[in-house]
């Protein structure tokens, strides 16, 4: 077991790779009542074509399988649903699917080990029947329709579709009514057996625990499985260019919603480039705030003109095979926001960054990183998501002071490229 201590946030990470390939991470939090465990597989909605270890043929499955599988994992052979069983034990259980991973979790104060039996049992024992697969199509159908009524989800998805020609990030995680109709139990078993091998999974635990003890308890509950070989993931070749610059959808909203995307070159998560990814991510966070944060000139101008009335949300999203910036919010005039943003970027690229502003925003981001260690849920989720990107979350707080103005200026020129920008609008 390896112990990594971070003196800045005064936390420790205990990490162990088990014989069957499973990685277990523990971040103890003394004094917290809540205990949180999350078990994820490095498999999300982006993986619909792959070569199963030991096979030679490519397997292609309908979109939305990873999410469908997540729903169906709770079903057990004894007729019980593990979500119900866990609730009966008195813990709060859930699961979710993103484009690059799927995760199962629960949180509780008491009954942790009792719940651990059920939790580790159900994730290791799929039980799919024709009947239970059919039933789920109705529920997921309603989930898809629920998202159809979320304008913020639509404007986001449309921005992705404007940026990506082929890469599956452009698709809805849950699939469509049509693609899920093609899902059957054979497909689910095949995906399960491929991606739910311990060597493709990681577990994170946070709360008031003795790390050695909890890792032993996890080991006891693992069924015997051999680590399988490498899964070859096949992604369509994605051109560097965008699909189209502007896309608009009509929906009943009081004021237009916008999402501005900036497509970046995908980052490879190979070892060695890990520090580079973290540094780049930090630089982009600072840059987004310099350009459009609450103390920026652009924000002030647009606010005073009445074009925006709240700060936009700004994210840098990346994983295997894709990377982009997304800036989104509501505005009476998204076109003007878009133009003004472009101008501001160009001006900053030409004139360079103000050193005092840079230092202040870096300090601010430092504080944001510290705040992430308040809550066991946030901690565990962050370590899991970063792990699948090849990153140890502590790296952010370790690297931040190494990111300087000159490096940020270089990233500003490389990433904030006018030809990679798209504008998505949802309006009446």
């Amino acid at each position: 077991m390896e112990i990594i201590e971070n003196l800045k946030v005064k936390e420790k990470l205990y990490i162990e790779k088990l014989e069957n390939g499973l990685t277990v991470m523990v971040i103890p939090k003394k004094g917290m009542q809540k205990k949180y465990i999350i078990w994820g597989t490095n498999y999300g909605s982006n993986e619909s074509s792959f070569i199963v270890p030991g096979e030679t043929e490519v397997t292609t499955v309908p979109d939305g399988v990873a999410h469908f599988l997540e729903h169906k994992m709770f079903e057990q052979e004894n007729g019980r649903n593990s979500l119900d069983v866990l609730t009966e034990i008195g813990v709060s259980a859930n699961a979710y699917t993103t484009n690059d991973h799927t995760a199962y979790l629960y949180e509780c104060t008491d009954h942790f080990y009792e719940a651990l039996d059920e939790f580790m049992n159900y994730v290791q024992h799929p039980y799919f029947t024709d009947e239970n697969v059919e039933k789920e199509k109705g529920i997921i159908g309603q989930e898809i329709m629920m998202y159809d009524d979320y304008p913020d989800w639509k404007v986001y998805l449309n921005a992705l579709q404007a940026m990506y020609h082929k890469f599956p990030i452009r698709l809805d995680t849950v699939g469509t009514i049509e693609t899920i109709s093609k899902i059957n139990k054979e497909i689910l078993y095949k995906c399960y057996n491929t991606f739910y091998n311990p060597s493709n999974m990681a577990m994170v635990i946070s709360g008031d625990f003795e790390p050695e003890k909890i890792i032993e308890e996890v080991k006891k509950r693992l069924i015997e499985t051999k680590a399988n070989g490498e899964i070859k993931r096949i992604y369509p070749e994605e051109p560097e260019s965008i699909v189209k610059e502007k896309v608009t959808q009509n929906m009943e909203v009081s004021r237009p919603l916008y999402a501005i995307g900036i497509k970046d070159k995908p980052i490879t998560c190979n070892s060695g480039s890990k520090d580079e990814i973290v540094k780049k991510h930090i630089a982009i966070e600072i840059l987004m705030n310099l350009i459009f944060g609450e103390s920026s000139k652009l924000y002030k101008d647009l606010y005073n003109k009445g074009i925006i009335s709240a700060s936009p949300s700004m994210d840098y999203e990346f994983s295997r095979g894709y990377a982009h910036i997304l800036i989104s919010g509501q505005s009476n005039n998204p076109e003007e926001v878009y133009q003004a943003l472009k101008n501001e970027i160009k001006e900053m690229q030409e004139k360079g960054i103000n050193e005092a502003d840079f230092n202040r925003l870096r300090k601010s981001l430092y504080g944001d990183y510290v705040k992430e260690y308040n809550d066991v849920t946030d901690i565990a989720r962050m370590f899991l998501a970063d792990y699948f990107k090849g990153i140890n979350s502590f790296e952010y707080i370790e690297q931040i002071m190494l990111v300087n103005k000159e490096y940020a200026e270089q990233i500003l020129k490389e990433v904030f490229n006018e030809n990679s920008m798209v504008l998505s609008i949802v309006a009446m």
């Binding site: 939090k29 008195g90 949180e107 309603q142 629920m146 944060g293 925003l361 430092y366 705040k371 308040n374």
Partner: protein
């Protein structure tokens, strides 16, 4: 002592929550005033104007720069409806001094900045600054009109509006466009000055608290200038005032999925029964084991969302389902069957145990989140019998099947609201 309350002056309380397990200190100030049509819009716009600038930090840019310099301290404000009260909420959160790289001291500064934004607004000839006032009026109009954007939330708000037609609780917490037009920046400023001298004020500090922090608050000019008061506000009442006896309201909008909301009345004899009602709600629709989740979602496959929540301040339960529009009758029938089963006592001791475990788990974690704990103790301000977290736990663990069955008899459908296309 976990939760300490000090009366700074009559009507102004300082709540101290000593916690050393967090990286942050959180300061919250709540101004509570009766909810009514005359003032709802005024109260709603006030935080929006205040956050634009204060006497010493005159622009949003100046405030933001100050906060960024303090390692990303964050300021938040908003408006809430709590029973028949309206609450103006202000928060500032900053990193605990122990986690700052250079051992700086920013906690006192955090308090000073928050108090300044609330109590020392930027003025211009005896009113709020014209530019800020005019602009926030426009923004507020957009926020009010924006209530249609979140369809699920909108459906719930509309159900409440129909249930409480003509009563204060029906009011939308952000106010009304037609009332915005009538506001005057000088009158509004005077209104605010009067509000500050008369309303209920609660100040919460959660984190590592030392004597200096308390003194910073109590001895600040802003607090010194406040007078004693006998604030007017509503305590929780048990009277059921929604009297629509199962009316049905349907509304059309451009939605893909129908949103079905049922507003229920729970007629209680005393405040203590609210804890039984919490368990009732948990069995009905509070978890994945609940009757609604099991029957509407898992068995009938009609919905992804099927749940219920108990609104303690008004003694209502709201049932919420997202369904295919054509399944309205089917879903409604299943929902009604669940209510009937509860009435007939078709739930087990085990259901009660599960509901208790869920609740106990949630209660035990109140202490793990600073904002949750603050809201818990703020909520207690409106109860006539005040319970600390331990007592709350004890009370929940004592709920019996009989008590829940008794609640079931007191539950009646008041309004069925359906948002469709």
């Amino acid at each position: 002592m976990e939760h300490q309350v000090k009366e700074i002056k009559q009507g102004i309380n300082l709540h101290l929550l000593q916690k050393d397990k967090f990286k942050t200190n959180l300061i919250a100030v709540f101004l509570t005033t009766p909810l009514n049509r005359e003032n709802v819009t005024k109260n709603a716009i006030l935080p929006a104007i205040l956050r634009r600038g204060s006497k010493n930090m005159q622009t949003q840019e100046a405030i933001s720069m100050e906060l960024e310099e303090m390692y990303g301290a964050s300021f938040n404000c908003g408006i809430d409806k709590r029973g028949d009260n309206q609450v103006l909420k202000f928060y500032m959160e900053s990193i605990n001094d122990n986690f700052l790289p250079k051992g700086e001291n920013i906690t006192a500064k955090t308090i000073e900045n928050l108090l300044e934004i609330i109590f020392e607004p930027l003025t211009e000839d005896e009113g709020f600054k014209k530019e800020y006032f005019e602009q926030e009026k426009k923004n507020m109009k957009q926020i009010i009109e924006g209530k249609i954007d979140n369809k699920a939330r909108y459906a719930l708000d509309r159900c409440i509006e129909e249930m409480y037609k003509g009563q204060n609780f029906a009011l939308y917490k952000c106010g009304y466009v037609e009332d915005l037009e009538k506001l005057d920046r000088k009158e509004l400023y005077n209104y605010y000055q009067n509000l500050l001298q008369t309303c209920k004020i609660d100040i919460f500090v959660s984190g590592i608290i030392n004597d200096t922090i308390q003194e910073t608050i109590i001895n600040s000019n802003e607090i010194k200038e406040l007078k004693e008061r006998k604030p007017e506000y509503s305590q929780i009442t048990l009277n059921v005032t929604a009297k629509n006896q199962g009316q049905t309201v349907q509304e059309s909008m451009d939605v893909t999925q129908g949103k079905l909301i049922l507003g229920l009345n729970v007629e209680l004899e005393n405040e203590d029964m609210q804890y039984d009602a919490l368990i009732y709600n948990s069995i009905l629709g509070g978890s994945a084991n609940s009757k609604l989740f099991q029957n509407v979602r898992e068995k009938a496959s009609l919905a992804y969302v099927a749940s219920s929540s108990y609104l303690k301040t008004k003694n209502n339960i709201f049932i919420n389902c997202g369904i295919e529009i054509e399944n309205y009758e089917k879903a409604l029938k299943i929902v009604k069957e669940q209510l009937e089963e509860m009435k007939q006592g078709k739930f087990t001791e085990n259901d009660i145990e599960v509901a208790k475990k869920c609740m106990i788990d949630a209660i035990k974690t109140i202490d793990d989140e600073q904002d949750t704990e603050i809201m818990y103790f703020f909520g207690q301000e409106f109860c006539s019998i005040k319970l600390d977290v331990e007592q709350y736990l004890e009370r929940i663990s004592k709920v019996t099947k009989e008590a829940v069955l008794n609640i079931a008899q007191k539950v009646e459908i008041d309004t069925i609201y359906f948002l469709r296309n």
